[in-house]
């Protein structure tokens, strides 16, 4: 009762504010868990860009049981990273983030070349569609499919994955560990800035 196995301390867990957001603009239901800013952004970037694998369990740890219950029986498909990035890191960040949930991943998608989404301006991020393909012949899919990604900004990556699998899966959904703050209405973002800044407010 008095001890926790959380990988973060209480203060960091509070700062890593879970803010689930339902995103419907892609034509299929996508759930984002953390807004891609502040500590969430720092942690995901540190995991992906600096290779700090110790941070991988942190985002999904408090939701692990709930996600395992919700998606038991689903086929979990991770969005692919470029081969160059995987070789450099030595691990797949999506797989590491998903590990606390305990459900197996089925890698059905690959990146056909070393196209780096984050280096592209927002207007050109739809180009990712030409760089993601099926890893091979699809098996018969008789379960709902959940696409999992670490960061969702424009949604082009997940939309491409959905386009490849939509005709084969009886049901499709998406889960992004971090989502762009632009998914939150502008009026709400302004209200947040006026009444609650949160985090560090020093110079």
């Amino acid at each position: 009762m008095f001890f926790t196995t959380d990988v973060l301390c209480q203060r960091c867990r509070q700062r890593l504010a879970l803010r689930p957001q339902r995103i419907v603009r892609l034509g299929f239901p996508v759930t984002g868990l953390y807004m891609y800013q502040g500590l969430a952004r720092d942690m995901v970037l540190r995991l992906k860009e600096r290779g700090d694998e110790a941070l991988a369990p942190a985002p999904l740890w408090p939701l692990a049981h709930r996600l395992a219950r919700m998606y038991r029986g689903w086929m979990i498909v991770p969005m692919p990273s470029s081969r160059q990035a995987e070789e450099r890191r030595g691990f797949d960040p999506v797989a590491e983030l998903w590990a606390p949930v305990g459900l197996p991943l089925t890698p059905l998608l690959i990146k056909t070349d070393d196209y780096v989404q984050k280096d592209q301006p927002l207007a050109r991020r739809g180009d990712i569609a030409g760089h993601i393909a099926l890893a091979g012949p699809l098996p018969a899919i008789d379960r709902p499919v959940l696409l999992v990604d670490d960061i969702m900004t424009s949604g082009a990556t997940m939309a491409r994955g959905a386009a490849l699998l939509r005709d084969h899966a009886p049901r499709l959904a998406g889960l992004a560990v971090a989502y762009s703050r632009l998914e939150v209405p502008a009026w709400w973002r302004r209200a947040e800035r006026l009444f609650w800044w949160g985090g560090d407010d020093d110079g």
């Binding site: 800044w197 407010d201 020093d202 110079g203």
Partner: protein, 376 residues
């Protein structure tokens, strides 16, 4: 287990990932340590200063060069505006003449660019490279000027490493940055500051560093002693606005230091309808342009956080510190903020007002330090 990059030995900071053990304390610096050119290159280290050193400055400069030649580490404690950068140039020149690698490490990015420019003007025959956020294409040169974070690129490289303002954030109290600095210097280190912290003074006490002191600015005018105003917030608002009104009527540039971004925005929005004002904090885009505009007189009032407490010279400026008793300000910060006043020889006067809700030891100590420096 010991991290070869930052020197960390605390086992809690090591994690076994898919590629083996790594140190989480310095993982933010990645694994991309650049390999600088280590070939010794003899250069012509002649330098030219824009002004002549005073006898006191010359004495300190010569002593520093002698200690550097003998391989001793030095703490150069000089009051704000005393010309610390110019004082080390003789030591830099002598080191370069011996074919040694020289580096300047500074806690603040803006100061890196300013000092790199000054060194370029002084050492016109040499290549001075500024390495900081946004300037990382070139990392090798005759003199390297970098932020303390960028020291990870130079393991065991510098024979003479000059650390400017080691008591400033973020270098202060950051063990990783201390480790990077120690790992990057294979010779001696010179620390430049007006407000040495306890750790540096302890190094002096243990004779690991030699302390040199300079208590006067080149123009010889005394330092501006801050005036503290105590009272409840409504009274402080009245005093502050009255002071601000008087300063703007005299057409003097004014810096208003605030302890938080939120308070900064509030004061900026209050002041802006009445006078040309700008706002600057850590999140401001185009900080360099805002500072240049304020120096050029485009704005009369600059409402800023502690980003401008060091390394900035605005001729004729007066400063006011709102909530000087706030925990974000320590004694060193208050001394540094007061040091913005009277730096230029053409306008050595100015005023410094500290608005405080309560009396605190750090404020009394700041005033006492500056008064003692003037009396010395």
């Amino acid at each position: 287990m010991r991290c070869p990059r930052c020197g960390n030995t605390d086992p809690r900071w090591f994690y076994h990932g898919s590629q083996g053990w790594y140190c989480r304390k310095c993982v933010a610096y990645g694994n991309r340590a650049a390999e600088p050119d280590d070939q010794m290159r003899l250069v012509d280290p002649e330098y030219h200063l824009p002004f002549e050193l005073t006898p006191a400055q010359k004495q300190v400069s010569d002593r520093l060069a002698e200690l550097s030649r003998k391989g001793r580490g030095v703490l150069l404690q000089a009051v704000c505006g005393a010309g610390k950068t110019e004082l080390v140039m003789a030591a830099v020149s002598a080191a370069l003449a011996r074919g040694e690698h020289v580096g300047f490490a500074i806690a603040r990015r803006q100061v890196v660019l300013e000092i790199a420019q000054r060194l370029t003007q002084a050492f016109s025959g040499l290549t001075v490279v500024a390495v900081c956020q946004g300037h990382t294409e070139r990392t090798a040169g005759d003199i390297v000027v970098c932020t303390t974070h960028q020291l990870f690129r130079y393991p065991g490289y510098f024979d003479l490493l000059i650390i400017d303002e080691p008591d400033a954030f973020p270098y202060k109290d950051d063990e990783v940055l201390h480790g990077l600095a120690a790992a990057s210097c294979r010779g001696r280190t010179v620390y430049l500051t007006a407000t040495p912290d306890g750790q540096l003074l302890e190094e002096v006490r243990r004779r690991r560093l030699v302390r040199l002191y300079l208590g006067r600015r080149p123009h010889g005018h005394p330092l501006c002693v801050p005036r503290a105003c105590y009272g409840p917030p409504p009274w402080l608002w009245v005093r502050g606005l009255a002071w601000l009104t008087a300063m703007t009527r005299r057409r003097r540039p004014v810096m208003v230091f605030v302890p938080s971004r939120r308070l900064g925005w509030i004061i900026y929005l209050l002041v802006k309808p009445f006078t040309a004002a700008c706002h600057l904090d850590s999140t401001t885009a185009g900080k360099d342009e805002v500072i240049a505009g304020f120096k050029a007189g485009r704005w009369r009032v600059c409402v800023c956080t502690s980003v401008l407490e060091r390394g900035v010279t605005i001729p004729g400026v007066s400063v006011m510190v709102v909530e000087a008793d706030h925990p974000v300000y320590d004694q060193a910060a208050l001394v540094q903020i007061s040091g913005r006043v009277g730096r230029a020889a053409s306008q050595p006067d100015g005023d410094c007002l500290l608005l405080c809700r309560q009396r605190m030891e750090k404020i009394d100590a700041c005033i006492a330090d500056i008064t003692a420096a003037n009396a010395a």
